[in-house]
Amino acid sequence: MSNKFTRRGVLKTGAGAGAGLALPTIFTGNVWAAAHSGYTNAPQGSSVTLGFNVPQTGPYADEGADELRAFQLAVEHLNGEGDGGMISTFSSKTLQGNGIMGKKVEFVTGDTQTKSDAARASAKSMIEKDGAIMISGGSSSGVAVAVQGLCQEAGVIFMAGLTHSNDTTGKDKKANGFRHFFNAYMSGAALAPVLEKLYGKDRAAYHLTADYTWGWTQQESIQAATEAIGWKTINNVLTPLAQTDFSSYIAPVLNSGADVLVLNHYGGNMVNSLTNAVQFGLREKQVNGKNFEIVVPLYSELMAKGAGKNIAGIVGSQNWDWKLEDEGTKAFVQSFGTKYGFPPSQAAQTCYAQTLLYADAVERAKSFNPCAVAEALEGYEFDGLGNGKTLYRAEDHQCFKDVLVVRGAENPQDEFHLVEIVEVTPVGQVTYAPDHPMFAGGALGSCNPGA
């Protein structure tokens, strides 16, 4: 209500108005819309503002910091600073290093706190106060869905960061929202053939699943995919999100007759459940005459770091990894590594790619109008951003590209080589129909320019 600036503010304002420096003008309408441009936050003057909304506090702060590094790098490259990164390998050649449509790119940042409420508040302030025309970032599906909904209402584009739940482009999809990151269904589809190759058809799986929406969709996907290759599902146990010690969930696994443990956990949950499982000696046990195995469907570099040696030999899937050999990846790793001294995470790559994709779509649409941008992104095929040939599908705004199956390295040469790529699953294997039952129930609606 009151802060230390209030009184000074009144004086200043009074002086400014009294001196008659300028004629007051009044715009009426939606919170964010400038009536004359036809859409929210139309860039005025020589710059355009993007909003990067990442977790800066809470358990995902490191992931957020990495996303922010990528955003900063992308902005530099868009503005023609630095070595240009993936702009040179990107299949679209509209980006010239002169900003977006000649306007210098500026950005604002905010803290999602990995809470849907806080994330929306932060995104709102970027839209209402700073005039951001696009919001990107985030490190959980709850936040992504919440912010995507907000951007739809406000009439700005949302370029999702790290969000893996089917719902983001499934039942909660929105016309103004776009996801580059892969999803739970793709993880299952990519993992199943590899699991079959490594561990055979005759396996019995025990699932531990984080008890919230992402956990459920992840579990559903991986169960469907593994049952399709002949695996049995012995049990699926839901674990509270706030759980830190998983011993009481892991202890019964060995005696259940299962020979594979699937940990549908992310972040701190995954680090702890995996650490606990290894502590219980599951990996050294033999069940049904086979080696006991652990699978973590969604992997990230930071989680691998947190789990340390425990991840050795454990299979999972990733959206992208810096050890890929394509030109885009090489350019990006070089650029990022030179600036920051370590290779980028998959979260960083997806945020960098999303920023470039947005800028390119604006250039191609020749407008910042979110509806024109959305149209330019829908059904767009591109290459050179690190994942090979990629399609932004028009029906659900999901990117389709190759998915990586990775495994924890047994003897990493340094802290950056904690995971190794097992297989690059081609896009064909992970593609699904837009009306797939796991994604059914929502509608994109129509694009909202805000005004």
């Binding site: 802060n3 209030t6 503010g9 009044i26 910091a65 905010g110 809470k115 849907s116 409420d117 929502g442």
Partner: protein, 401 residues
């Protein structure tokens, strides 16, 4: 005036003026200046100031007056938000029924929890309320997902079966919350030179409701009922030996403050129709405790000041990043600029929690009784200096002020 004595009425007028002029007061810096970062006069944050002000005013009726420290008040805020969003989904996008339902449901919820928790006092009471709230949060996040939509939060979708109103607008969008047609997100922008002042419908609705809530709280403070509540805090034994059972009074205070929380929750949902489960987490309950203590528990205006203080930090300091800092300090020589930026960086952006923690410690150590009492002391000091002959008026505190 309005049944208030002169001093209280003046306070109400000052608060009313601050609320009505907030779009100017909170926007002191021209939009194109470096200091614009500190402007807080945009609709979302202004709404939050007054809504969390309501929450803290209500909490203060319980904690400030009776001394019962509830660590579960966020549950009522959350329940209010969920009720309001369900009202939007099922009945109408008009905010009035949503707010009314939010207040009623949270009141009933508070009645049940209060009835059980008030069987104990002191820390035992605090832990009981904490336990109820954490149970609500954990269930809302997981098992109750069909009602609460769990992690993602309850949102309005294109296929809600709205009885009074349409599921989707003609353009295929989701309808927006309104007050008999007046859109809550509607904003008028007044441009004066480089300043842009935003007048938002939703903010003014919240502001008016906050003034009413504040007025009611003054009346409660000055009423026989308020006196009984303060007596509970002062000495339960004597009240018992005066033939009074303290529990109905404490329960009434609990329910009233629960309804205030529900009102705040309903308003949050009316401004932005989303109800996230983490609204009910113990940290959210802790936040309102901190707001009240920071501002000054038991004072009328303290909780509002505390709420504004914390929300300002959360929303403004967290957004200051390295490049903003470089912008501010670019006038310095480069080496010095980097040094200053490096130091400042720890306290803003990702470090905003650190600043908040330090401020908690400083305020409570050097301004016992919170910001308001600290302010009064400073004012007293100032007054004593200016007219050292005058009798010491500042020390004669108005009770509970």
């Amino acid at each position: 005036m309005l049944g208030l004595d002169k001093k209280d009425f003046t306070l109400l007028l000052v608060v009313a003026a601050l609320v009505l002029l907030a779009p100017f007061i909170l926007n002191p810096f021209p939009a194109d200046s470096a200091m614009a970062q500190f402007n807080a006069g945009y609709p979302d944050l202004m709404q939050r100031f007054v809504i969390f002000g309501i929450f803290a005013i209500g909490f203060n009726i319980l904690f400030g007056l009776t001394g019962y420290l509830s660590f579960g008040h966020a549950a009522f805020l959350g329940v209010g938000s969920y009720s309001a969003v369900w009202m939007f989904k099922l009945l109408s996008m008009n905010v009035i029924p949503a707010i009314i339902l939010a207040v009623i449901v949270s009141g009933v919820f508070a009645l049940v929890i209060g009835f059980v928790s008030l069987r104990r006092t002191g820390i035992y009471f605090s832990i009981l309320t904490l336990a109820f709230a954490q149970m609500s949060f954990n269930l809302a996040y997981s098992v109750l997902t069909p009602i609460t939509n769990g992690e993602t939060g309850l949102q309005i979708t294109l296929n809600d079966p709205r009885i009074l109103g349409v599921s989707a607008t003609a353009e295929g969008g989701i309808p927006v919350t309104n007050l008999f047609g007046l859109e809550m997100r509607g904003t008028e922008v007044l441009n004066i030179g480089p300043w842009a002042f935003q007048f938002n419908n939703g903010y003014y609705l919240c502001g008016v409701i906050m003034l009413i809530a504040f007025y009611i709280s003054i009346r409660i403070f000055r009423s026989p009922f308020g006196l009984m509540l303060r007596a509970i805090k002062a000495n339960k034994t004597r009240l018992n030996y005066t033939g009074l059972n303290t529990r109905p009074y404490a329960l009434a205070a609990f329910v009233i403050s629960g309804m205030y929380a529900g009102l705040a929750g309903g308003l949050l949902a009316s401004m932005d129709p989303l109800a996230g489960a983490e609204r009910m987490q113990w940290t959210a309950s802790g936040e309102v405790v901190l707001m009240t203590i920071l501002g000054g528990a038991g004072t009328l205006i303290g909780p509002v000041v505390g709420a504004g203080f914390i929300k300002y930090f959360e929303n403004i300091f967290s957004k200051i990043n390295e490049s903003v800092l470089h912008g501010w300090f670019s006038f310095l020589p480069e080496g010095m600029e980097n040094g200053v930026v490096w130091v400042t960086e720890h306290f803003v952006g990702p470090g905003w929690h650190l600043t908040l923690g330090l401020l908690f410690m400083l305020v409570v150590t050097f301004l016992p009784g919170g910001l308001v009492e600290g302010g009064q002391k400073l004012a007293g000091l100032f007054r004593r200096k200016s007219k050292s002959e005058a009798p010491d008026g500042a020390a004669q505190k108005h009770p509970a002020e």
